[in-house]
Structure formats: C-alpha cells, structure tokens
C-alpha cells in the first residue's frame, strides 16, 4: 500500500485489492475526540461519502466504482482511475480541447445539482479525465436542492478556475454548459454574485 495523500481527515492509499488496482480512503482516528463520538462521526461520513458517490452515478455522472465499504476500519475501497487530474493538464491544451473539457464539467455539475447532489469541494484536482470525466472526493458533499448550496458549490469552482488556471474563459465555458443543462442556473448565478458580495473568504483554491 502506498500513501498518496494525507489530508486533515483521511489518508489516501493506492493498493491492490482482490487483484484490482484500487484507491483506499481511510478516515483516521482523532485522539482529541472521545471514542464514542469519533467512531460515530467517521462511520457516518464514510457511509455518507459512499452514498453520495452512488447517487452521483445514478445522476449519470462518472465516479470511481465502490468495491467495498468498511465501517470498522472506516475505509472506502474504490476503483483506481488511471487518468490525469484536470488541474494538471488543462492549461497545456489548445482552446478547442479546453472548451470541450469545460463543457463536460459544466454538464456534469448540472446533472449533480439537478439531482440534489452538492459536491462540496469542486476543484480541478477532484476531477480526473480518463475514458470519461470522473469526479472524486465527496467528503464535504451533501444532499440539497437549495440554490444557496449550489451557489456555494459553483462559487468554489469559479475560484478554482480563476486561481489555478490561466485562461479566464475556462469558467465561462463551464457555466455556459451548466446553464444549458440546468433550469435554475440563473438563480444559481444570482447566488454566486451574492456570495461574492458578502466577500467572506471561502477557500484558498490551489
């Protein structure tokens, strides 16, 4: 097992599992929380994340296949997606390809939002392009049909594009496709503007 990332809440490993290439996301024990509370939180989040991934698949958006959920070790064993993170290559593509990818992103998020799925961490490091466009990392996600929540989701994506990528047309293309595929996009746009005006620092996106 090879550790690929150590986040605040989970460790991500790459491993072989029943002959398959997998990624294991393990929520680590927090010694500062009493045991009852800590286990309950980790178990619930592990289940919720898996549930949200399943919902996303049902909405017609690609996510890694979940092979196994272990609510004792607090692990999700999922398909390893052998592709490239959008973050790592989109700047190097020509405009035509960029536009195609951005439209795919917008269309996918539109599907999630219309099915009440809020990803919670929509950055270009949580999207992998392989045979299809895959979304990962639903740890901060939730179910909601509120435009406020959708606005927060899209606002983060906008920040991600503006902070990490050179071509400012990228998010415009994303939103164009989002609007063509989601009736409430105008309302979400208004929410984004509101969030910008509120001016609270949300996340630094890298």
């Amino acid at each position: 097992m090879e550790l690929i990332k150590r986040g605040a809440e989970a460790k991500i490993y790459r491993a072989k599992w029943m002959g398959k290439e997998v990624v294991i996301k393990r929520r680590v024990r927090k010694g500062y929380r009493i045991k009852e509370l800590d286990e309950e939180i980790r178990r619930r989040r592990t289940k919720e994340e898996a549930f949200l991934m399943a919902e996303t698949r049902r909405a017609g958006v690609s996510v890694p296949i979940i092979y196994y959920i272990d609510t004792v070790k607090m692990e999700i064993v999922m398909e390893y997606i052998g592709g490239k993170r959008i973050k790592d290559f989109i700047d190097d593509e020509n405009e035509e390809t960029q536009k195609k990818i951005c439209r795919m992103i917008g269309e996918s998020v539109a599907k999630m939002h219309s099915h009440g799925i809020i990803h919670g961490d929509l950055t270009t490091s949580n999207m992998i392009l392989a045979d299809k466009l895959y979304f990962i990392d639903f740890g901060l996600g939730m179910k909601s049909f509120e435009n406020e929540a959708r606005g927060v989701d899209m606002h983060l994506l906008m920040e991600a594009f503006n902070a990490a990528h050179r071509n400012e047309k990228l998010f415009k293309w994303v939103f164009e496709a989002y609007g063509e595929n989601f009736d409430e996009a105008d309302e979400v746009k208004r929410k984004i503007d509101e969030i910008i005006k509120r001016g609270r620092y949300m996340r630094r996106v890298s």
Partner: protein, 328 residues
C-alpha cells in the same frame, strides 16, 4: 512607546497601559470591569451605560497601577469594532475625549485582530491559526496575503452563547461557561448530540435545541459533558482543517471560552497529533482586555497607520480582512 488601550465591544470594559520595549510587549496595567445582566442575555444599552459609568474610575486605576503619568503616554487605542453599537460608541467617545484633551494620537483597533496579536506577543507564536472562541464570536482566523482572513466561523450563534443559553435553561447564572466546565468533569455518559461541521464552518443552534430537549431525561453532568465534547470537537476539527489547508503549524487560542481547560486539552491534542505547536495566553488575555487593544495600537502606529478623529467612527461589522497587516 507607551500606549493606553480601551476595550469595550460587549460585556467587558478593559483599560490597560502597555509598553513596547526591546520589541517586546510589557503590560504595565490591565484592569477591567464586567457588566453582568440581572437576568437574560446582554442588553446593549445597559452594557454601554455600565461602561460609561465605570470608565473614569477604571482609567484612573489603570494609570495609577501602571505608575505612569498621562504625559508619558504616546498613543490612545480603542476597540472600534466589531461589537455592539452603543458599547462601541461609548468607548470611542471616551478615547476621542482623552486624545483631544491630552493631544495624543488616536487609533481604532479591530477587536478580533487584537485577540490574535496579544496572543502572539505573549506566547511567542509567529504564524498561527487562531481559534477565537468567545460569547458572540467563534472564528478561525489566519494571515494570508497580508490580511487576517476568516477561514471558518459559526453560521449561527457563538460557542459562548450556546453554553450560556444552556446554562440559563438549567438555572446557572451568567456567565455559565465555568459552571458547565465543572459539571462536565463529573459527566460519565456521552449522550449523542448533532455534530454540525460544514466544510470549515460550524453551527451550534441545532445542538443547543437537542441538548435542551434532553435535559429532562438525563443528568445535567452528563448533558454538560456531552455538550462540551461535541462543541469542542467541532471547533478542533475546523481549526485542523484550516491548518491543513494553509499548511500552518501553529495553533493559538483566544476568547473567553478558550479558558475552558477541556477545550485547551482538546486543541492541544489536535496540535500534537499533527506535529504542530499549541499556544494559549493566560486567562486575563484570553477574555476581552485593554492590553490587546493597547498593544495592537502600537503595532499599527509603528507600521505607519495614522487616524484622524474623522476616521474613528465605530464599525459594528468590522471585518478582519479589511485591515492590511503591514506590521507582520
């Protein structure tokens, strides 16, 4: 440089005299009086009246205790916001009066930034993520690109308010925090309460409602214990997220609730598990105090900030990231 600082954003009126000497913060005096509402929560007008009434004597005491004369003071600092309008205006008026009468420069200081700066000065922390946990405020603040930014905060009531409201329901006088801490030490059973973390934000009103609905059936010790464990774990979690996100390795506590020993223990453990350093100043500099205002006023003055009387209008919703941090 010697500065006089007046704090008065909420319950506490604090007046302190602080000297910056050899780059260090030397507190010559730090006096305070706290308004305690007869019943219920804080009444802004009453709190302001309290501050107005105690200002002259507290000022006198603070100067006497510091052993300085007015003419030795170089700067008048005051809490310009955020806070309760009537309280802020009372303190601002006092600061302006002193500044005019003795011909001293005046400096309006952001209350939240002052908590952070005094903590740094007194503990030796350099670049912390601050958990600021008080009655009305619950925020995770850190420096990024020359501004103190809020990375997480409560979406409804402050952690202190949550504890106080719970206390009131079980007949504990204001402020309830210290009583709840004592009760919680005797708690044994964890009663599940909603754990409410959204990204880097928290909310407490749902937990409070749930706790209040359970009081009848459970011992108050177990209830106090469960309330503390739930709320404090949430605070540790969002602070940790901010630390991971910013790749910072120091955590600092501020605000009155941070004097709770269980919260300190939880935060310390979180820091240790990450290999980060934990800092907390002593209780009198966790709660609202004049020293933090006096000290931050010096930092600002030395960095070149100047205010005319026209700039001293109070700012009830003053955000930390409206100030460019030129001194750090």
């Amino acid at each position: 440089m010697i500065s006089l600082g007046i704090e008065g954003t909420a319950h506490t009126l604090g007046i302190a005299i602080v000297e910056k000497i050899n780059e260090k913060c030397k507190i010559l005096s730090n006096e305070s009086r706290m308004y305690k509402p007869a019943k219920g929560g804080i009444h802004p007008r009453e709190a302001a009246n309290h501050h107005a009434m105690h200002l002259p004597s507290l000022l006198h005491e603070s100067i006497k205790k510091a052993g300085v004369e007015i003419k030795e003071i170089d700067l008048i600092g005051f809490s310009i916001g955020p806070g309760l309008g009537p309280c802020l205006r009372t303190v601002a008026t006092a600061a302006r009066t002193i500044a005019i009468k003795y011909k001293k420069p005046i400096m309006g200081v952001n209350h939240c930034i002052a908590h952070l700066e005094i903590g740094k000065a007194l503990t030796g922390s350099h670049d912390p993520v601050l958990l600021y946990a008080s009655g009305g405020n619950t925020q995770v603040i850190s420096l990024l690109e020359k501004k103190y930014r809020i990375f997480g905060e409560t979406l409804d009531i402050g952690i202190g308010n949550c504890l106080d409201k719970f206390g009131r329901a079980i007949g504990i006088p204001f402020p309830a925090g210290p009583h709840i801490e004592k009760l919680a030490r005797k708690g044994r059973k964890y009663i599940p309460l909603p754990y409410s973390v959204k990204g880097m934000d928290v909310s407490f009103s749902g937990i409070l409602t749930a706790a209040l609905s359970l009081i009848k059936n459970e011992s108050i010790e177990d209830m106090a214990y469960s309330l503390q464990e739930t709320c404090f774990s949430m605070l540790a979690e969002v602070t940790e997220r901010a630390m991971a996100h910013l790749e910072k390795e120091e955590v600092l506590l501020g605000g009155g609730v941070a004097s709770n020993m269980r919260l300190q223990e939880i935060m310390k453990k979180m820091a240790m598990e990450r290999g980060a350093k934990f800092f907390v100043p002593s209780r009198q500099y966790l709660v609202d105090n004049g020293a933090m205002i006096a000290w931050t006023a010096i930092l600002m003055h030395e960095a070149g900030y100047r205010m005319s009387l026209g700039d001293t209008k109070v700012r009830q919703n003053f955000r930390t990231d409206e100030v460019e941090v030129k001194w750090s």
